[in-house]
């Protein structure tokens, strides 16, 4: 009985399953078949690269080249010059750069120290409220820095909220409206970034190192001194992120720092672009410094940790025994945590809410009465003040949806079979873009999409809503796609293959096998992008079209004009409420409506 299939005649490449023709045969049409088979993949790759080029690479690269070669863009006489850098490093601009550098370093250190203390209390002790404090960290993470700054301004300014209630605030006002206030607000707003870096490391640090120190004779303080250096990578990450976030911040720079005559680099850059005529050359030179400064601590961190291992996580890592705090330590711990969030969230929110409820706040110096009139104006469509919130809400929803979809595609490209050189290139691009200040991106867009070349290509988008949406997408896509890489890389291809083998088509297989796993991840990506976009400031400030004003720009503009001061405060409160409301609503709906299996898996947010 013949049981063995005869080999192919002519010794061709072999027999493919199911009797199909070999894909790698010597046929002259092999390349054509390969192209056809790979067409969907090639199309997606091309679309992603075109999108990344239009969103990030081209505008930023052109803008940065401008500093060195203004003639290339008809912005000066020289093909190559360092004059823009000389201007950026002299006078007012130099002072701004110097201020940004020391401010960022100081805030990074203060925020890391505060985050370490809070994370230690939450994860290593029986501190009261240790479930609440991480939630407040997340709330603070979502809170835009300009709203924190303005909330404090409402409280402390002459004839502000505290004055209305007869609480003396002159001294606090003097301290707050200056470098001290800028350091304070910037530190508060970067604490969440440092907290996330430190708390993840602390969660992974088993108790055995502390126990080993204590068993071998070290007291509590000496033990802490032994264990904290093990967190060096996390502490350096916290410092690097804190530094990069502060130096690229525009919210505090354009509000508190600007009104305190404390120049910082990001606001100087904005002024250079916003002046008439715009000084793109100096703005570009400042951008070089900002990008380099944001990347510097990351490079220092990588160099410091090279060749050293702080690996402490093993399969047997023991959950730490929580240290029982005595009454005094407990009181100090709770007071410290409560004080921190009171200063970072409670006071500015209270300031904004009270200011929004006062009649003629910021207009008249006489005594005020409580009123809901400001909310009436903001929420009443006929007054025209609801427009900015509606506009921002629509753009935030569109951006969030685009980021969730594109982020997933990009993450998938980076992780599919190691990603290859293209995947690594995308990774590098995304990491670089995460450190790219939004104000630099906005300035790059103004410059690039105003060029004659853009007009001839039909891309003269400056002053249009699509360009603003592209700016939002460009600022949110890199961090979200990078966050998705971890969970997406853990997806087992066999799940998809199992669905296909058992009869599902491509789309159906994705919906059945991958969507349940990725649902929570996508939800968080959508919610975080929505929140960040709704209250985004630097890109909005630079790119908003004349016909439509985003909420953040409207708030800032209203704060600057006393006639609408009350509306600005009310709009701040409504925007904050909308942001937190959408997040809570989204999570609540997911909890109520998602199938039980979807709720048990996936996600990348660790509430710790």
């Amino acid at each position: 009985m013949k049981t063995v299939t005869a080999p192919c005649e002519g010794g061709a490449a072999g027999i493919s399953p199911g009797g199909a023709e070999p894909l790698t045969g010597r046929s002259g049409f092999g390349w054509y078949r390969r192209l056809i088979l790979r067409a969907p993949q090639v199309t997606v790759t091309t679309i992603v690269w075109v999108a990344l080029a239009l969103l990030l690479i081209v505008p930023v690269a052109l803008f940065l080249v401008l500093a060195l070669s203004p003639r290339l863009f008809s912005q000066g006489a020289d093909w190559f010059t360092l004059s823009n850098f000389r201007a950026a490093f002299t006078g007012f601009f130099a002072r701004g750069l110097l201020n940004s550098l020391w401010l960022s370093a100081l805030c990074a250190v203060l925020a890391t120290a505060a985050a370490l203390a809070l994370a230690w209390g939450v994860q290593r002790t029986n501190l009261i409220g240790r479930r609440l404090w991480p939630l407040l960290v997340w709330a603070l993470l979502l809170m835009p820095s300009f709203l924190v700054a303005e909330g404090w301004e409402y409280l402390l300014q002459p004839h502000g909220v505290l004055d209305q209630f007869g609480i003396p605030s002159v001294l606090a006002y003097r301290v707050f409206f200056g470098p001290g206030g800028v350091v304070f607000v910037d530190t508060m707003t970067i604490i969440p970034f440092a907290y996330v870096a430190v708390s993840v490391a602390l969660a992974n640090l088993g108790s055995e190192f502390e126990e080993a120190a204590r068993v071998h004779g070290c007291g509590p303080i000496r033990t802490a001194l032994m264990v904290v250096p093990i967190l060096t990578p996390a502490l350096m990450s916290a410092l690097a992120i804190g530094f990069a976030e502060t130096i690229s911040d525009f919210g505090v720079a354009s509000t508190l720092a600007a009104s305190s005559n404390f120049p910082v680099a990001t606001y100087n850059l904005f002024q250079a672009v916003d002046s008439n005529p715009a000084n793109f050359g100096v703005a570009s030179a400042i951008s070089w410094v900002l990008v380099a400064a944001a990347a510097l601590p990351i490079a220092v961190q990588a160099a410091a940790l090279r060749g050293r291992s702080y690996a402490v996580l093993s399969g047997r890592t023991r959950q730490p025994v929580r240290r029982r705090l005595g009454p005094r330590s407990q009181f100090l711990g709770v007071a410290g945590a409560a004080g921190l969030f009171l200063l970072a969230l409670g006071a500015p929110i209270t300031g904004a809410v009270l200011a929004s409820l006062l009649n003629n706040f910021g207009v008249s110096f006489s005594a005020h009465t409580f009123t809901l009139a400001n909310y009436g104006l903001v929420l009443d469509g006929t007054a025209g003040l609801a427009g900015p919130l509606e506009y921002s809400t629509e753009l935030a929803a569109v951006t969030a949806t685009a980021v969730a979809v594109l982020g997933l595609v990009v993450a998938r490209m980076m992780t599919a079979r190691g990603g290859g050189p293209l995947g690594k290139l995308i990774d590098l691009l995304l990491i670089g873009s995460v450190a790219l200040p939004g104000i630099v991106l906005g300035a790059g867009y103004i410059f690039a999409y105003n060029l004659p070349l853009a007009s001839s290509l039909g891309l003269a988008l400056y002053g249009t809503t699509p360009l603003l949406a592209m700016g939002y997408l460009a600022t949110s896509l890199p961090p979200q796609a990078r966050l998705m890489v971890g969970p997406v890389s853990q997806l087992q291809e066999s799940l998809l293959e199992a669905a296909r083998v058992h009869g599902a088509g491509t789309v159906s297989a994705w919906v059945r096998s991958m969507l349940p796993i990725l649902a929570r991840l996508l939800l968080w990506a959508w919610l975080l992008t929505f929140a960040k976009t709704l209250l985004e400031l630097p890109v909005s400030q630079l790119l908003y079209p004349p016909s439509d004003t985003p909420a953040t720009v409207a708030i800032n503009n209203f704060v600057g004009t006393s006639a609408h001061y009350g509306e600005a405060t009310a709009m701040s409160v409504v925007a904050m409420a909308e942001m937190f409301g959408v997040i809570l609503g989204g999570l609540g709906l997911f909890r109520l409506l998602a199938p039980a299996g979807w709720r048990r898996i996936g996600g990348f947010i660790n509430a710790r």
Binding site: A212, V215, H216, G217, C218, P229, I230, R308, S309, Y310
Partner: protein, 376 residues
């Protein structure tokens, strides 16, 4: 000599009525344990038996819910009294070594000398000397990540030994090493501990490791100390079927009592039994040990130790049972066999220099006192 390593006198360890709960889970339940000064005590038990919890309570890392711990003449835990770990003057080798990754080997070891308040140079000298003692003098300046698992284990051992504390605790220190290294490290630990004269308490779930190291073994099960004593006693006269099983069995056979109990020199009793399964007619009875109390019923279970089982040709009249070979594994010095005896039970780890093939019929002879009997 001034500045030399200080050897603290070995301290006895006494635990009375120690209980520890984690929420509703009782990890330790009224443990009583006495370890004489200078002896080597091994706490043996399966995962979740409470041995690690007991060790951590001795170290002061965990706080007892009730009971008392004394180290030498010092009461270190009872009621509100809880001396923190750093004040108990003991050392510990951790399961994952717990070497501080930011310190070199010599600095890891020197940390343990802080309590001796030595000058830094002297502490460093003593740390280096202890590293040389464990064969790592040439790696003293390396960081833990630059060392192999065995080298890291030696650093952890040096750290525990260097301060000359009177009590040494070992938390399954060999569980992460390969078989060859385990044996060499076991010998090294035994040698160093005996040289130091310290009281050692060592936990493991490996009975062969326990018997090789211990002066005293304590067997834990579900938070109870079910037996303690010299290893020979625990092996020959296990207090319960659990201890018999956990200290190494070939298998369990149903037997019927065939004679009277007779007292033995070691406090146990001898009892003649024969297999409950249809046996080979006219054979002599099996002489088994009754470790505790009396077997007053006719039906009992014989817990067979592997060392007492001999394989014979199927027709050999010395055999007590007939069996079929299920599996044969080459072990270098001979072969380990798995057998299916005629009553349907299995015997495993039955050694013979000769190879019996799968499916072979054999006769099984059980040496006198090669098994212990408990009432079924």
């Amino acid at each position: 000599m001034p500045g030399e390593q200080v050897a603290t006198a070995a301290a006895s360890v006494e635990v009375v009525g120690a209980s520890k709960r984690f929420g509703a889970k009782v990890a330790l339940d009224a443990i009583d344990l006495a370890v004489p000064a200078g002896s080597f005590c091994v706490l043996l038990g399966p995962s979740g038996s409470g041995k690690t919890t007991l060790l951590r309570c001795l170290a002061g890392i965990e706080r007892l819910n009730s009971g008392r711990v004394s180290l030498g003449s010092r009461l270190v835990a009872e009621g509100p009294v809880h001396l923190p770990p750093e004040q108990r003057d003991l050392s510990m080798v951790f399961q994952d070594y717990a070497l501080w990754p930011h310190l070199s080997a010599v600095r890891n070891v020197a940390v343990a000398l802080r309590r001796r308040r030595l000058p830094r140079s002297e502490a460093s000298r003593q740390a280096r000397r202890m590293l040389e003692r464990v064969g790592l003098g040439h790696l003293a300046d390396r960081y833990p990540n630059e060392m192999s698992g065995g080298e890291q284990q030696r650093v952890a051992l040096a750290r525990a030994m260097v301060a000359g504390t009177g009590i040494l605790l070992f938390d399954e220190p060999l569980s992460n090493l390969d078989a060859d290294l385990r044996e060499r490290m076991r010998i090294e630990i035994a040698t160093l501990c005996r040289e130091s004269g310290a009281t050692s308490i060592y936990i493991t779930h490996d009975q062969s490791e326990a018997f090789a190291l211990a002066d005293v073994i304590g067997v834990l099960h579900d938070g109870h100390l079910v037996q303690s004593g010299p290893p020979e006693d625990v092996y020959r006269r296990p207090a319960s079927p659990f201890v018999a099983r956990f200290t190494g069995l070939a298998g369990e056979l149903p037997v019927v009592v065939a004679g009277e109990m007779r007292p033995r020199w070691d406090g146990g009793s001898s009892l003649a039994v024969r297999p409950a399964a249809p046996g080979r007619a006219g054979l002599e009875d099996i002489i088994a040990t009754v470790p505790k109390g009396e077997v007053s019923v006719r039906e009992a279970t014989l817990f067979v130790r592997p060392a007492g089982v001999t394989l014979l040709p199927p027709s050999d009249p010395q055999g007590h049972l007939g069996a079929v070979v299920l599996d044969t594994a080459y072990r270098g010095r001979g072969y380990d066999h798995a057998l299916l005896v005629d009553g349907g039970q299995q015997l495993i780890g039955v050694h013979d220099e000769r190879r019996w093939e799968c499916g072979d019929r054999v006769a099984v002879r059980l040496a006198p006192h090669s098994g212990v009997v408990f009432a079924s």
